[in-house]
């Protein structure tokens, strides 16, 4: 497996995590602290351009110039390892680093714009960051530390039926860097096993999109929700209690719209939705309100997790 650093990390703030599921950030910090991961957050870092980029409003130069500024912030803090809570931030930043290193014309163009406009301090030098060695998702870090997870597990979640949804922008965009499989993704299944649980593994549509499709959810909801229904029907066919995912876009699609899609399908979907960091934090004893942030969830977490039993030591 590729080397994954657990020091000198810049935990990249996500706009969707911040305002939709802040418990993902609190849970990530809680788990990182338990596992001794060295990270910091910067107030100077700005959004990866996510929804703007994938609604085609930001072109590649706009996004990559913004990326260059964020990469400079990481370098200046001596935290060159960016770790993302959102799969879209992960894919966008990794692509910008690849392009800045590989495409001399693009890098020179952006640097020249910086030079000519008083922003020389933001210039990106070739190989300032490396896409494989510096750009990560939180799941990569959890995977690198997975052997230590069991030492911190407080609650036994093995009685629940658990399935995973691996975000497309973690698995499929930069597939050469994806840990745990692309066509049959399993990185989260392996991490969850370290909490003493087993997942259902493969299920129909395991690798299918959540259906967000960026503009589709807002501008083309019929198409978006029809695609999501493929997944939700498959999850319900397996009678899943907890669906675990790794991206706030997927989280919104599943958690916020589950009841609406259930109505459309004439079914009663009952799974709750947790980010992988929330799941691990819960297993490690994180408080519902102070760590997991359940108040942000539309499908009540306590509709499935009613009481917690401690693991037998």
């Amino acid at each position: 497996m590729k080397h994954v650093p657990t020091d000198d990390l810049l935990l990249f703030r996500s706009c969707l995590v911040s305002v939709e599921y802040p418990g993902v950030e609190a849970s990530t910090k809680f788990v990182f602290d338990k596992l001794g991961v060295d990270y910091a957050i910067s107030e100077k870092q700005t959004c990866c351009t996510g929804l703007g980029h994938y609604s085609d409003v930001f072109n590649q130069i706009d996004t990559t110039a913004i990326g260059a500024r964020n990469f400079k912030i990481a370098k200046e803090l001596n935290r060159p390892n960016l770790v993302m809570m959102c799969a879209t931030c992960y894919a966008i930043n990794k692509k910008s680093v690849k392009l800045l290193n590989k495409k001399d014309d693009l890098r020179n163009h952006i640097n020249q714009l910086f030079d000519e406009n008083g922003l020389s301090h933001l210039k990106y030098e070739k190989d300032d960051l490396k896409p494989t060695e510096n750009i990560f998702h939180v799941v990569d870090i959890l995977y690198a530390k997975k052997d230590e997870i069991k030492n911190h597990v407080k609650y036994d979640l093995s009685g629940y039926k658990i399935a995973t949804h691996h975000g497309c922008h973690y698995c499929k965009v930069h597939y050469e860097d994806t840990i745990g499989g692309v066509r049959d993704p399993n990185i989260m299944d392996e991490i969850i096993e370290e909490c003493g649980c087993s997942t259902i593994g493969w299920y129909d549509h395991k690798r299918t999109t959540c259906g967000t499709g960026f503009r589709q959810r807002y501008s083309n909801p019929d198409l978006s929700f029809t695609a999501t229904a493929d997944k939700m029907n498959a999850i319900d066919d397996e009678d899943v209690d907890i669906l675990v995912h790794l991206c706030p876009n997927c989280h919104i699609q599943f958690d916020r719209y589950q009841h609406l899609i259930a109505q459309r399908e004439g079914r009663n979907f009952r799974a709750i939705h947790l980010n992988i960091a929330q799941f691990i934090a819960l297993a490690m004893g994180g408080d519902f309100d102070k760590v997991i942030g359940v108040k942000a969830h539309t499908v009540p977490v306590d509709s499935v997790i009613k009481d917690l039993k401690e693991v037998e030591k």
Partner: protein, 200 residues
């Protein structure tokens, strides 16, 4: 039909424009397409709409530039499934994004962008990426409790020991808006907005 080619035509020019686009990460992958249809068979948009990724590459290779005016290209989910399974290393997902940028450069498809100008505005003026406010009414209708949750966000974050949602400093905003001016973003957004206002 666009297939009436003359020997002097250069249908490959269109493919080469795409290959040379800054966004393309697959080198000449588009030229290697064998029309196997793996992309279409795994595509969620093809499953549920008239979007057809195999046909997109066919039309690109035929030099059929009218594809930028085809509404179907806007149905792509950007899920990159096609990109991850293509046996010859092509990426219809990237080609699709490039086609849309070519469309926008040619003043086509602006109506698909109007709803997202709010994102551009919040990024440009406040250095914040945000769901455009014009969608809030739909979200409030579709997601019971969402609006109250958003009203209580600061309280919920406080309980999680997180600061209030960050308002970037003036210094950050200045730097970001300067970047988005010199890349041509600001001018592009103003141009798109002017056409929306003309429609109104």
């Amino acid at each position: 039909m666009t297939n009436q080619q003359k020997i002097t035509d250069s249908p490959i020019d269109f493919a080469e424009k795409i290959i040379n686009d800054v966004k393309n990460s697959k080198e000449d992958g588009v030229l290697k397409c064998v029309q196997c249809g793996m992309c279409t068979s795994t595509c969620p948009a093809a499953r549920h709409s008239d979007y057809n990724p195999r046909e997109i590459i066919e039309r690109v290779l035929e030099g059929d530039i009218s594809i930028i005016e085809d509404d179907n290209i806007w149905n792509c989910f950007y899920c990159y499934t096609c990109h991850s399974v293509c046996p010859v290393g092509n990426s219809v997902c990237e080609v699709n994004q490039i086609l849309k940028q070519i469309a926008i450069e040619n003043n086509v498809g602006y109506d698909k962008l109007y709803e997202y100008l709010g994102f551009a505005d919040s990024y440009f003026t406040a250095a914040i990426g945000a769901i455009p406010e014009r969608f809030f009414q739909d979200i409030d209708r579709d997601v019971p409790g969402w609006w109250e949750f958003r009203q209580n966000l600061e309280e919920i974050r406080k309980e999680l020991d997180l600061n209030p949602p960050l308002m970037p400093s003036e210094e950050v905003i200045d730097e970001v808006s300067k970047i988005l001016t010199i890349t041509g973003f600001k001018q592009k957004i103003e141009k798109i907005r002017a056409t929306e206002e003309a429609v109104k």
